[in-house]
């Protein structure tokens, strides 16, 4: 059985973070189809073109902006079914609670140590690559 690639929409502003993610998944890169956007407006534009399997949303820069994006997404009849995994640097319970209430699929607290990060992100992406999605 041929497994199709997991398509990921990554919403991230920080260049180093992007490199980190790319490096972290470099060994498995054939399994993933990574779409990169630097802000939520571009993300919505990208979603209009094609639907990814999952969305990785970085909350780091502005939580309110990220949460606003989440509510737009979850109010959209098509976009709402895409699982969103939030990436955050800070364990603020209220933000995380808000995100879960809006219907995120998961939350990754970014560790400061790069090695820890690599383990975490790979595990999560591995998990989602094993998932079945709504056939397009």
């Amino acid at each position: 059985m041929i497994k199709s690639k997991l398509s990921i929409l990554l919403i991230e502003q920080d260049e180093v973070e992007i490199i980190k993610l790319k490096k972290a998944i470099s060994k498995e890169s054939e399994q993933y189809n990574l779409i990169l956007v630097s802000n939520t407006n571009l993300a919505l534009a990208a979603l209009e073109k094609s639907l990814p399997n999952i969305i990785l949303l970085d909350l780091s820069i502005s939580a309110s902006n990220g949460i606003e994006f989440l509510s737009i997404l979850k109010n959209n009849t098509i976009f709402r079914s895409i699982p969103v995994i939030v990436l955050t640097a800070v364990n603020t319970s209220t933000d995380i609670a808000t995100c879960y209430k809006l219907g995120i699929a998961g939350c990754l607290l970014k560790p400061s140590k790069n090695d820890d990060y690599e383990v975490k992100i790979n595990t999560i992406l591995k998990y989602w690559s094993l998932n079945e999605f709504i056939p397009s």
């Binding site: 180093v16 973070e17 490199i19 939580a63 640097a89 800070v90 933000d95 400061s112 140590k113 790069n114």
Partner: protein, 573 residues
């Protein structure tokens, strides 16, 4: 028939006649006596009657002359025919010395009413209780009450009118004052707003003084100024807004002077008073009365009139009375206003505080995010350098790389702690029943508790209302702190509670290393780690204090070095 016979007949007839005449004379005599007597009688009666008449006339004359009210008789055109002394006194005119017509006595504004009443008098023959103003010879205006009737001749044609005139000026004045005081008291009864009370007082006084300028100033003791709080300017501008709000300093103008001295004052010609402060226009008479409470001038009533010499001593007395009557209510309204001002200020302050708290939280949040991401980047770059150069670094450089990582981690921890501390909000909206016994049992499963340490609840803990997360943070920090510093072979953490009427006092005691007394205050301050241990982030006790503060409780400790420490904190029941 013979002669003799004729003579005899004649003689007999003569005799009869004689007899008859005698009888008649007799009757006449009796009658004339009677008549005489009657005439005499009549004369007497007449004399009596005349006497009586005289008497009555004198009596009547006496009544008119001695009547307490003024009495006037005038002809149909209003020319005075007769007036008593009181009338002379009242009007200042004397009909013996000059020609007077009552029409000239009528006060301009009452002319129409007077004419109507006069028509009524002629038509109906009388009127009563006509009340209007008259002008006396020396230009005084007096209020009079008149009862009058028409005098007719024998053909029933009116020839004159008479009237009794009563001077009711003083009486009316008194009633006006009473009415006004009644009105003021009634209108301010139950009112709490200073401006409303001041408005009622100023408009009533303006009414009473028949002026269109009455202002009330409020004394501000702190900055020594007077501020207009009510200004009655005109009947037509009923708006209670003060358009031209004048603020005077103490001692400035007549008002400022009265505020300073506390003594009421009449200025009969302001053009001769240098201290007069012109508001919208110069008015020549001014009356100024302080409102005094507890020996302190709290407000000033100030009225003006365009005419010179307008205000009199009676006005001053009346307004002073009013000032006395309203002073208490003014005082309480001022107090209320002060209280409300403070309340508003407090509310604004609270709002501001809440906002700045919010901003601070937001700020801490953003800052920590922003600080953390470069740290993560440094860590990533650090590890990439190592990965790309395996075998190229000596032991020293590798150690340096490790130290960079360790430093980064410390930094990251610090940032997390700041964020944790600042994100404890003072928000008390969450108000659940929290069973502290269950909460401790939960904590036992979450916390790492070494085997040699037991955590015990001595007395059953209460269920209290509040935010479960916050209580959990308090107990978690205190218990983990206790565990951290236990150096004994068999350690314990004992949790207990005592209650009084208002508070629960919780205690968490351990048999750890203890804390020196000099550090007692310091340990609650943020980032005060006493032993510099890596496990201690120095923020736990700050968080405890912050939360206990939020619930208006207190936190303190007792300790003995090497023996153990007990932390106490109180929470409201």
């Amino acid at each position: 028939m013979n002669e003799q016979k004729k003579i005899e007949i004649l003689e007999r007839a003569l005799l009869r006649q004689k007899k008859a005449r005698k009888a008649a004379e007799q009757i006449l005599e009796i009658k004339s006596l009677k008549l005489f007597n009657t005439a005499k009688e009549l004369h007497k009666v007449n004399a009596k009657l005349e006497e009586l008449l005289d008497e009555k006339t004198t009596q009547l004359k006496g009544i008119f002359e001695n009547i307490n009210d003024a009495y006037i008789v005038m002809d149909i055109d209003g020319a005075v025919i007769k007036m008593n002394d009181n009338a002379v006194h009242l009007f200042g005119y004397d009909h013996f010395k000059e020609k007077i017509n009552v029409v000239n006595l009528i006060y301009q504004e009452d002319f129409g009413y007077a004419m109507d009443s006069f028509s009524e008098l002629i038509e109906k023959g009388s009127f009563s209780n006509y009340t209007a103003r008259v002008i006396t010879k020396n230009r005084e205006v007096k209020w009079v009450n008149i009862n009058a009737s028409v005098v007719y001749d024998k053909n029933n044609i009116p020839i004159a009118a008479q009237g009794i005139i009563r001077d009711i000026t003083v009486q009316r004045e008194k009633r006006l004052v009473l009415d006004m005081i009644n009105n003021i008291m009634k209108s301010i009864l139950g009112k709490e707003d200073l401006h409303e009370i001041a408005w009622e007082v100023s408009s009533s006084i303006a009414d009473y003084l028949s002026t269109n300028d009455c202002v009330i100033y409020l004394v501000d003791e702190k900055v020594k100024t007077l501020e207009q709080i009510a200004a009655f300017q005109n009947r037509t501008t009923q708006g209670k807004q003060i358009l031209n709000k004048v603020v005077l300093s103490f001692g400035e103008g007549i008002v400022g002077n009265v505020a300073k001295t506390g003594i009421a004052k009449i200025v009969s010609d302001t053009s001769k008073d240098k201290s007069y402060v012109e508001d919208d226009e110069r008015r020549l008479s001014e009356i100024t009365v302080p409102i005094i409470n507890d020996g302190q001038v709290i407000a000033v009533i100030d009225a003006e009139h365009k005419n010179k010499n307008y205000f009199v001593e009676a006005h001053l007395k009346t307004i002073e009375n009013i000032a006395n009557l309203v002073s208490l209510q003014f005082r309480s309204a001022i107090n209320l206003r002060e209280r409300k001002k403070v309340e508003i200020k407090n509310r604004q302050l609270l709002k501001k505080l809440a906002k700045s708290n919010e901003e601070l939280e937001e700020y801490a949040h953003i800052v920590s995010h922003d600080l953390k991401s470069p740290l993560r980047s440094i860590s990533a770059l650090n590890s990439w350098i190592q990965a790309d150069n395996v075998g190229k670094f000596d032991a020293m450089s590798l150690q340096n790389f490790k130290d960079v990582d360790a430093t980064l981690e410390t930094m990251e921890n610090l940032i997390s702690n700041i964020l944790e501390y600042s994100s404890i909000s003072a928000n008390l909206e969450i108000n659940d029943d929290v069973d502290l016994n269950a909460l401790i049992e939960d904590l036992k499963t979450v916390l790492f508790v070494p085997r040699n340490i037991s955590i015990n609840i001595l007395n059953k803990l209460p269920i209290i209302r509040g935010d479960k997360t916050k209580f959990q943070q308090v107990f978690q920090n205190l218990i983990s702190n206790a565990i951290k510093f236990i150096d004994k072979e068999k350690g314990f953490v004992n949790i207990d509670v005592a209650a009084d009427a208002n508070f629960y006092t919780f205690s968490i005691s351990d048999n750890g290393i203890g804390i020196e007394k000099q550090h007692f205050d310091k340990i609650f301050k943020i980032f005060q780690s006493l032993n510099g241990s890596k496990d201690s982030n120095g923020i736990g006790l700050s968080i405890v204090k912050k939360i206990v503060d939020i619930y208006s409780g207190e936190v303190w400790l007792t300790s003995e070095v090497h023996k153990g420490t007990t932390f106490y904190f109180t929470l409201k029941k």
